[in-house]
């Protein structure tokens, strides 16, 4: 599904990502773990196109997407969420979802100027689709709330639903449990399992090891900008250097 080869990302001489090569297999949740400063979020940003790679090649579904900006990668089905909540705070929850939806004829300047009669059929269809997602994720009652007023966990769900509105093939989730109340963590994990079972591919940075244990296979371990191991969590726990680098405790 996604193949990254020899990815480097340097900041003023600091090698945040230093020759990383990874493969993301379809229909699985691939975990990306490592200590703080390992380069996980930088790698996610490079894969998503938010940051350009200093060098290396990224191939997504057989196409070299290395030179493409983030928005073009998203249009090809590779959608990311962010480490910090990135909701559109002054838009309602439903609007947050609708923004992400492609194929709305009112999304262009010309379409907007042509008026409601031109784009309302698309809007009606997408509102129904967004409401279906809100129902599935238990947030129907919040549809008209400003997204900025939601709790941390609800914001995470909005981001995931927003990404789903694009009909993605690959979700890049950067610490989806970060800042989420522990009681909601398992709920979000359950939703991610459902998405995986529906055939969606996910690459997920996560610090909560019990969540990685539950959801991710394979797991990629990074430290100091490099991949130091990959495999199942059970296999990784048998490698002393990885245990020492990250899995202690």
């Amino acid at each position: 599904m996604l193949s990254a080869r020899d990815i480097h990302r340097h900041f003023e001489g600091m090698h945040a990502v230093d020759g990383v090569s990874i493969e993301v297999m379809p229909g699985r949740i691939t975990g990306l773990i490592g200590p703080n400063g390992a380069g996980k979020s930088t790698l996610m940003a490079v894969l998503a196109g938010t940051l350009p790679a200093s060098s290396g090649t990224i191939v997504f579904q057989g196409e070299d997407i290395t030179p493409l900006p983030a928005y073009q990668r998203a249009r090809r089905g590779m959608v990311r969420t962010f480490q910090l909540p990135s909701e559109f705070s002054q838009l309602t929850v439903l609007e947050n979802l609708l923004v992400a939806a492609p194929d709305n004829r009112g999304e262009s300047l010309l379409g907007a100027l042509l008026g409601k009669r031109y784009w309302m059929p698309d809007e009606t269809r997408l509102v129904a689709q967004a409401r279906g997602l809100l129902k599935r994720f238990g947030l129907s009652a919040k549809e008209s709330d400003y997204a900025g007023t939601l709790s941390g966990g609800q914001k995470r769900l909005v981001e995931i639903m927003r990404a789903l509105m694009l009909g993605p093939r690959l979700l890049l989730l950067d610490e989806p449990m970060s800042g989420v109340h522990p009681s909601i963590v398992d709920e979000i994990a359950g939703y991610l399992e459902q998405l995986r079972d529906d055939g969606l591919t996910i690459l997920m940075v996560e610090h909560e090891l019990h969540i990685v244990d539950r959801l991710c296979d394979p797991v990629i371990v990074m430290a100091q900008g490099k991949v130091i191991g990959q495999g199942s969590m059970t296999a990784l726990r048998r490698q002393p250097e990885i245990v020492e680098a990250y899995l202690v405790g």
């Binding site: 998203a74 969420t81 990135s86 909701e87 559109f88 309602t92 609708l98 379409g111 008026g115 549809e143």
Partner: protein
């Protein structure tokens, strides 16, 4: 109140409403802090002037130097003003909006405003330099008598038509899925690009559309004033329009119109009347006006950042009940 004063007030109100609707589209809806806004209004004014004036070799016009002088009939100079604003937005937008971060964009646009004013001020062969252009023909000059009260009403009517057109187009943009995408970009540009939105293209479009509307406002203004010089479009004029959008309520057209009526029209009229009362030294009131505009912006940003008329929440038909009374129902207008 005599007819000329009333016409003056109404036409200035119309011009300011058009300008504030454009700035609201750029700054209020899209988050583009266009500190060079007045340059686009000036471009429209200059374009309309040289399109409607005769060549500078003509009798009565030879005391000034300018390019063009095409004597085009109305409404071509006004259309030309809008086109000039849009065309100017293209190179400026391509330089400023593509690579710079939002805060640097604001600085670059402010600098652009200062550079543009300085260039036009000093390059006399272009547009007569600091002295500016004079004797700009009014719309329909030569077709109707422009020295009558009824012409004032006609001018008000033409301005009102432009206000209505700009309002109609702005409303369609702001209340559409496209407007929603612009608001999303304003809230979080990075997240919007991660959802397949092209921020540069969105900003460029809003910059060009806003530039065209700004140009139209300048064309109307120069048609009424009949003069235009660099001293009329110094960069602080943009700050007044920003104050209007902030006070009225950024992100919604009603707020922009209210802001236009409260700040550039109302506020400046009050200070003008105070000036006639001979209070203190001659420059006291104009100086205090700038202090008050600054305090107005600070006060609203601090105490009421959403302005007098905040951006309305969009509630879709069939949504669960919302507690707040004021809301916007998609497809049905405000209720």
């Amino acid at each position: 109140m005599n007819t000329y004063y009333a016409a003056n007030l109404l036409i200035f109100a119309g011009v300011d409403i058009i300008a504030c609707l454009a700035l609201n589209l750029q700054f209020g809806v899209s988050g583009v802090v266009n500190f060079s806004f007045i340059v686009f209004q000036a471009a429209g004014a200059y374009a309309a002037a040289v399109l409607s004036m005769p060549p500078d070799t003509a009798p009565d016009y030879s005391f000034q130097i300018y390019v063009g002088g095409y004597q085009l009939p109305f409404p071509l100079p006004w259309i030309g003003g809008a086109v000039a604003g849009a065309l100017l937005a293209l190179p400026i937008g391509l330089v400023v909006l593509r690579r710079l971060r939002a805060d640097y964009q604001a600085i670059a646009l402010l600098v652009t405003s200062i550079i543009a004013n300085t260039v036009i001020n000093n390059a006399r062969p272009l547009l007569n330099g600091a002295a500016g252009l004079a004797l700009v023909p009014q719309p329909l000059d030569g077709v109707v008598n422009t020295n009558t009260n009824s012409y004032q009403y006609l001018f008000i009517g033409l301005t009102a038509i432009c206000v209505a057109i700009v309002w109609f187009l702005s409303a369609r943009i702001v209340n559409s899925p496209y407007g929603r995408t612009l608001r999303a970009m304003r809230e979080n540009e990075l997240a919007a690009s991660a959802l397949g939105k092209n921020p540069t293209a969105l900003k460029m479009t809003t910059f060009v559309v806003g530039g065209a509307i700004a140009g139209l406002s300048g064309a109307i203004l120069v048609g009424f004033l009949q003069v235009w010089a660099p001293s009329t479009w110094l960069y602080p004029e943009t700050i007044i329009l920003f104050a209007a959008v902030i006070v009225g309520g950024r992100g919604n057209n009603v707020g922009a119109i209210l802001g236009a009526l409260l700040v550039p029209v109302g506020f400046e009229e009050v200070t003008r009347l105070l000036g006639r009362m001979n209070i203190g030294p001659p420059n006291l009131i104009p100086a205090l006006e700038w202090v008050c505009i600054g305090l107005l912006i600070l006060g609203f940003l601090w105490f009421r950042p959403k302005g007098v008329v905040p951006e309305q929440r969009r509630v879709f038909p069939g949504a669960p009940a919302v507690e707040e009374q004021t809301r916007w129902v998609i497809g049905k207008g405000a209720r």
